[in-house]
């Protein structure tokens, strides 16, 4: 009665032991990284899998930071070949890569993504400035009575922030700190508004001056003070972390016309009948304004290729060629149908050439 399962279990155990041999060869590309790039990379992978003789690459959505960590863990079949990122690789990550033997990596910029600030179609459209965004969402804001003192954010409604805005309570649904979207939102949106206060901008200038003067310690302290002011999001319930699921934010906006959501532009495009994008600094969020950079909350997307794996794992040059082809990332390509905002032609040509030559990144 038990002999069969036992024999099978032994067989499984035997294959387990023999698996190191198996792990030495991988016949599909392994990709990790940003959840923002994931919807684009998967489409390219599917096209590549269908139209080439290679297997369809496997793509994990780990977040930009998580992806780079796995990517930089070393060289070898068990590490990923490509990582997607919704921001540029950091110097520290690059150094980790170097330390772990990932000497040559190629950077390929694929296009832009806009961060949309949107609310339900049932509510009037919003017209925000970066300063409004900062004042509405920062943990500490300059005292509205004037002076250079910072106080805990006292604003309860949009009207208190800016008299032109409606008198609805501030309730913003957005991504959690682990998300690349949140990083970009803090950097482009919050910091953009933060800088408009001269005395805060001065802190950054002081930090730079200190660095120039050679006082590294002081520069560091000032810089982290500046970052703390500009990137700190309020924690009193006005900003609600809604998880990485942008669809969920859209659904919540639909249910609550007073709420405002922060998410990737592709989700706005897919749900145009339910939610509307806010103007930021007077610029509406559209395909064109994100592409030409006039919409302030737009950021570049990248992927990084491990050169050492080219030739060991089959198909990597083919995948890069598919991604960098005009039919994919061009103005009329299939990625633009999915909401990726293409780069200008010269930039596309430059990165396509980089991809072909696998030009190593230098930092």
């Amino acid at each position: 009665m038990f002999k069969k399962p036992l024999v099978l279990a032994t067989a499984v155990a035997a294959t387990l032991v023999g698996s190191n041999v198996h792990a030495a060869a991988r016949d599909y590309i392994s990709i990790v990284g940003s959840s923002t790039v994931y919807p684009f990379a998967t489409v390219v992978a599917e096209h590549f899998g269908k139209e080439s003789k290679y297997k369809t690459p496997k793509i994990e959505s780990t977040g930009s930071g998580g992806g780079l960590k796995l990517f930089c863990a070393g060289i070898g079949i068990e590490t990923p070949d490509i990582t997607n990122a919704s921001r540029r690789i950091k110097k520290s990550e690059f150094m980790t890569c170097q330390k772990n033997g990932v000497k040559e990596l190629t950077e390929i910029k694929i296009g832009y993504d806009g961060i949309a600030i949107a609310n339900s179609k049932k509510a009037p459209p919003l017209d925000l400035t970066l300063r409004d965004i900062f004042l509405a969402l920062a943990k500490n804001v300059p005292n509205p009575k004037g002076g250079e003192e910072l106080i805990a954010n006292p604003y309860k409604t949009w009207k208190e922030v800016n008299a032109k805005l409606p008198a609805t309570p501030i309730k913003v649904l957005g991504p959690p700190p682990t998300s690349g979207t949140r990083d970009a939102f803090a950097e482009l949106g919050m910091e953009g508004g933060c800088k408009s206060f001269a005395f805060i901008k001065q802190i950054k200038a002081d930090s730079k001056a200190a660095k120039k003067a050679g006082d590294k310690e002081k520069a560091k302290v000032l810089k982290s003070k500046y970052k703390g002011i500009c990137h700190g999001v309020r924690e009193d319930g006005a900003y609600i972390e809604a998880g990485e699921n942008d669809n969920l934010i859209v659904q919540k906006l639909e249910a609550d016309p007073e709420a405002v959501g922060v998410f990737g532009y592709s989700f706005l495009e897919e749900n145009m009948d339910m939610v509307q994008g806010a103007k930021v600094d007077g610029v509406p969020v559209t395909f064109e304004t994100i592409g030409d950079g006039s919409y302030p909350l737009s950021r570049p997307l990248f992927f990084y290729v491990k050169k050492a794996h080219v030739g060991k794992v089959p198909g990597i040059p083919g995948y890069i060629a598919e991604f960098t082809s005009e039919k994919a990332w061009g103005d009329e390509g299939y990625l633009s149908d999915r909401g990726l905002i293409p780069m200008p032609k010269e930039e596309r040509e430059k990165y396509a050439a980089d991809g072909k030559a696998l030009t190593p990144l230098e930092m």
Binding site: S19, A41, E60, E270
Partner: protein, 435 residues
């Protein structure tokens, strides 16, 4: 108590006291039952709401609209040199042929943007449909053949009535001319609703109309197979030893406490353990059902051990003693007499443990099984995902048509779970003996 009191107050018999309080007690009794019934009906209400919302969102995904297109298979476009070599035939631009046939149907469409919209009436999988047919039967080349191909996901949603055409054109993705074309096609009888076989025969895809759950189902199957093959023998062996052979001392007590505790450990912890041990130490491949099965084995083992021990305990000791009395060795007594009687209970525990493992996604996150994988896995080393992960990935996709597919996948998962639990109940009913 019944003796009259000296004060001469009216004598109260016990029955009177009982009668006086009876109404109150009955009311309390009714209230008590009512609480229970409220609890149950609340539970049922939640369940109904859940099922109602899932089924109402998901049932449409089991149908898919197909469109009839007449494709002229011009030899010049497929194989200009007249070759019938499958490799040459496979490379031809079938999408171009499909586009040509759409242009023929709507010759009035001219603008570049309108043409792009026209081409998007059919799924991008239409080309592979045509390719498949031509490869099967090269004699079709040169003829005009009618093909039923899946419509694009947005057209499909429009036909299912899930697009609000009342909104101004600028606010929806399906534009007015597309609506008009679809209407024309419908009148020509070129649109047909069919059972969505793609959903059950394909792996994942980023095009909703080509996405299926087969990849996830086989991934789940392979993962559970590994789990079953490891967890069942190990669990039963551990239970038998602990219950029948192990001496009672502080060490076995410690083991017992640990097993009970392990059953309550959050599953993500097992995922982290799997990452550290199986991936980083043993260097097993990421995303493989083998590793998923190993991690889920760790998770289900305590459940199986606890259930198996309970089943062993419920076998009357007299049976074992009788076997020992007529000269059987302890192993013979257990193997031939106790185990067969305890087996239904053990199997029930195993099936419940398996059902738990089937619904698990958190531990698989850590070992890379949350990934976009198109190819259907065929072995325990192929990269794979499982059903709950597929649901999670689809729920996170921006395309609207994935909403119904997410719910449909949930329906399939629920069907599997109900079947497994039902099997456990039937096994228990049929084979369990009571003493």
């Amino acid at each position: 108590m019944n003796t009259p009191t000296s004060t001469g107050a009216p004598r109260r018999r016990t029955i009177d006291i009982v009668n006086a309080g009876l109404k109150k007690r009955r009311r309390a009794e009714r209230r008590f039952r009512l609480y229970g019934m409220t609890a149950i009906s609340m539970g049922l209400l939640f369940l109904l709401t859940l099922f109602g919302s899932i089924i109402s969102k998901g049932y449409t995904a089991f149908w898919q609209h197909y469109m009839l297109i007449d494709v002229t298979l011009t030899p010049a476009d497929i194989a200009p040199d007249g070759s019938r070599d499958p490799q040459v035939l496979a490379k031809a631009n079938y999408m171009g042929l499909v586009k040509a046939s759409l242009r023929e149907m709507f010759p009035e469409v001219t603008g570049r943007r309108d043409k792009r919209r026209l081409y998007k009436l059919v799924s991008s999988g239409a080309a592979s449909e045509v390719r498949k047919r031509v490869l099967e039967d090269p004699a079709l080349i040169g003829k005009t053949v009618g093909f039923w191909v899946p419509t694009d996901d947005e057209v499909d949603l429009l036909l299912k009535g899930r697009v609000n055409t009342q909104l101004p054109e600028s606010q929806r993705r399906v534009k007015d001319n597309v609506v008009a074309w679809v209407e024309t096609l419908k009148q020509q009888g070129r649109i047909q609703k069919r059972f969505n076989t793609i959903f059950f025969t394909h792996g994942d895809s980023r095009n909703p109309e080509q996405a299926g759950i087969l990849g996830a189902v086989s991934g789940s199957f392979l993962t559970l197979l590994v789990t079953l093959l490891l967890a069942f023998p190990i669990g039963v062996a551990a239970a038998v030893y602990l219950e029948e052979f192990a001496p009672r001392n502080w060490f076995t007590d410690l083991i017992e406490v640990n097993i009970n505790n392990l059953a309550a450990v959050p599953s993500i912890v097992f995922g982290l353990l799997g990452l550290a041990v199986f991936l980083n130490f043993f260097h097993l491949p990421r995303s493989a059902p083998l590793v998923g099965g190993l991690v889920l084995t760790l998770m289900t083992l305590p459940t199986i051990i606890i259930a198996s021990r309970a089943a062993l305990k419920s076998v009357p000791p007299s049976i074992k003693e009788a076997a020992l009395g007529v000269g059987a060795s302890p192993m013979q007594a257990i193997y031939y007499h106790v185990l067969p009687l305890a087996m239904p209970g053990m199997l029930t525990g195993t099936i419940i443990g398996m059902a738990q493992a089937l619904g698990e996604s958190a531990p698989l996150l850590m070992i890379g099984m949350v990934a976009f994988i198109v190819d259907v896995p065929h072995g325990v080393f192929d990269p794979a995902t499982v059903l709950p992960v597929q649901i999670y990935l689809w729920a996170d996709s921006p395309e609207r048509a994935f909403v119904e597919r997410t719910s449909a996948a949930i329906i399939v998962l629920l069907a599997f779970l109900v079947t497994m639990n039902l099997l456990a109940v039937i096994l228990r009913r049929r084979f369990e003996r009571r003493w």
